[in-house]
């Protein structure tokens, strides 16, 4: 019963969240000064069109319609499961998103796992050996990277690996001029490696800094002091008590990282001309492709919410204080 109420509450919460996110995204695009006709057809071409053609295009892009009415009609369709047709790609939004998401997922998953695993390990090491040379090295790396813009890291990677060393492709997700059927998995991986690396490098820095803080708190705790007094070595203290007590906050961080990586893909995919969700959202936003933009907004919001939701649920499973507290 209690679980059912909790689940229902969460469902209402996510529905409201998605509604707000889509409304805000819609408002932002509708107050944008960009005229979809000028942006997508061009000033020169627009001038050569007849009034009839212009009117046809205006109704296609929904120029004259009042915003509220446009939003409500989109919402009505969306709730019924129809995400509409992308105005720019002229394909159903579902198809566009499926294709872009598949590309982005490779980057997202790679960066998520690498940042999590390496960030956690580095944070634990730095925190356990606070103040030593290894801590200072890890901390310097993290601070420098955390304050470096992601797009700049992307450009540097391109410069080093694609231009100077020429061991990685300069952009895109598949080789240029190759038929889709001929593209191998190796090709795809080769094209994904640099953008994924750029995302990971920044992700690691954030996770490391946060994990380090938690680890320092654990190492300064009474129970670690007592463990030392009981003859446990630093190594054992780190593996037995450190990791155990840092893993819970690290879990929250790891799922909050989805949010950051998702935002990062927008920049990275722009720099690497990588045709993923991030690039699609930029195209949709600048081109006034309302159905596509709103659908991506809703889906990425749902992804972030899903991540936090999983973290919360796992907390209850992993932490005995919550698990036993609930069952009492």
């Amino acid at each position: 019963m209690e679980v059912a109420v909790k689940t229902a509450k969460n469902l209402v919460r996510v529905a409201l969240l998605l509604l707000c996110a889509s409304a805000i995204a819609f408002t932002l695009v509708s107050i944008s000064p960009l005229d979809p006709l000028q942006t997508n057809i061009g000033q020169a071409a627009l001038g050569s069109l007849s009034a009839e053609q212009t009117a046809q295009l205006e109704s296609y892009w929904g120029v004259g319609e009042p915003p509220i009415q446009r939003y409500l009609s989109w919402l009505g369709d969306f709730v019924r499961g129809d995400m509409g047709i992308s105005l720019l790609y002229r394909q159903s939004v579902a198809t566009v998103i499926a294709e872009k998401l598949a590309n982005s997922l490779l980057l997202l998953a790679f960066a998520w796992v690498i940042s999590g695993v390496l960030g956690f390990t580095l944070g634990i090491i730095a925190g356990a050996y606070q103040g030593r040379a290894i801590d200072r090295a890890i901390q310097s790396y993290s601070l420098i990277i955390a304050s470096t813009p992601l797009f700049w890291i992307g450009i540097m990677l391109l410069l080093i690996f694609a231009v100077w060393l020429q061991i990685a492709p300069i952009g895109l997700s598949v080789p240029i001029g190759m038929e889709a059927a001929d593209v191998t998995l190796i090709d795809r991986l080769r094209h994904a490696i640099l953008p994924a690396l750029a995302l990971s490098i920044t992700g690691i820095a954030n996770i490391t800094l946060h994990t380090r803080e938690k680890m320092i708190a654990v190492m300064g705790s009474d129970y670690v002091l007592f463990a030392r007094a009981r003859g446990e070595s630093t190594r054992r203290i780190v593996t037995r008590h450190g990791v155990r007590n840092v893993i819970l906050p690290a879990m929250t961080l790891q799922f909050a990282l989805i949010n950051e990586i998702l935002a990062g893909t927008i920049l990275v995919e722009q720099v690497f001309s990588y045709p993923g969700l991030g690039q699609a959202v930029v195209t949709a936003g600048l081109g006034g492709d309302m159905p596509l933009l709103l659908a991506i907004t809703v889906i990425s919001t749902a992804l972030v919410f899903g991540g936090n939701f999983i973290a919360n649920t796992l907390y209850g499973v992993v932490d005995p204080r919550i698990r036993k507290g609930v069952s009492k």
Binding site: F226, A227, A229, E232, H241, N245, D319, P320
Partner: protein
């Protein structure tokens, strides 16, 4: 038990001229030494319970930490600490702590909040003999009935104290240092906890009890060392606290009067 052996054999802990100071930053480039404990002398014999009594902030816990070699990095100490006649260097204490020399800390915050009590007591040992012994020790302290499978947050204050004591008992420690084991307990529970330390001393261990509670200390200790301003101002038999005249230092006399 006869204690006719000569004193040197029977002394478990011998602290001579112990001083502990902290490095403090004064301004940007200079730092000063802040001396918290100076010229402290304490002796504990086998089978004896010595109580160090002092107000909070008099450096009592630092004394415990210096014996166990777990002072913070910005602290330095000088003097001599001997365990059964042998000089305790950092290397030596690292070998002895947790086995022959055991700390019994204040309370539940000294237990890993995410690890079961039994796992913490066993400290990674899995052999049947140790398990068996642990169960006996827990039973002795009224912690049978699956307490070993509980997490620290499920223990009461008294249970946590007894769990911490059973850790020292499992190791057969010859020197037990109890750092404020009673705060937060009511008088009856505190007495019960202290009586456990008395039993350990009667079984032959040397016990150094660090406390701020003179009243309780007098009930269980043979000797009382009064700490004031970082040093021992009085080191006397507990029976001398019966009358004010047998006490030496004004601070001790003040403590004595405060009891009335």
């Amino acid at each position: 038990m006869s204690n006719i052996n000569n004193c040197a054999d029977n002394t478990v802990l011998d602290i001579r001229n112990l001083s502990i100071s902290f490095q403090q930053y004064a301004g940007r480039f200079s730092h000063t030494q802040l001396e918290t404990i100076h010229n402290l002398n304490v002796k504990v014999h086998a089978g004896e319970l010595v109580a160090i009594v002092g107000a909070s902030g008099s450096g009592k816990s630092l004394l415990a930490h210096s014996i166990l070699g777990i002072l913070p990095y910005n602290a330095t100490w000088s003097g001599e600490i001997r365990y059964r006649g042998e000089l305790l260097t950092q290397t030596r204490i690292e070998e002895l702590r947790g086995s022959e020399i055991a700390l019994v800390p204040q309370g539940v915050s000294h237990l890993d909040p995410l690890m079961k009590i039994g796992t913490q007591i066993l400290k990674g040992r899995k052999d049947a003999a140790t398990r068996q012994k642990m169960e006996e020790v827990l039973e002795r302290y009224g912690l049978g009935d699956g307490v070993e499978n509980l997490y620290p947050f499920e223990l009461s204050g008294g249970m946590a104290r007894r769990a911490l004591i059973s850790m020292a008992v499992l190791e057969d420690a010859k020197l037990i240092i109890a750092d404020e084991p009673t705060p937060g307990l009511d008088a009856k529970l505190a007495r019960r906890v202290l009586s456990h330390f008395r039993e350990l001393a009667d079984d032959g261990a040397g016990v150094l009890l660090i406390t701020h509670d003179l009243e309780l200390a007098l009930e269980v200790a043979e000797r009382i060392v009064v700490m004031h301003d970082g040093t021992a101002v009085e080191d006397t038999e507990a029976c001398n606290f019966a009358r004010e005249e047998t006490l030496q230092h004004p601070y001790t006399k003040a403590l004595w009067r405060a009891r009335l």
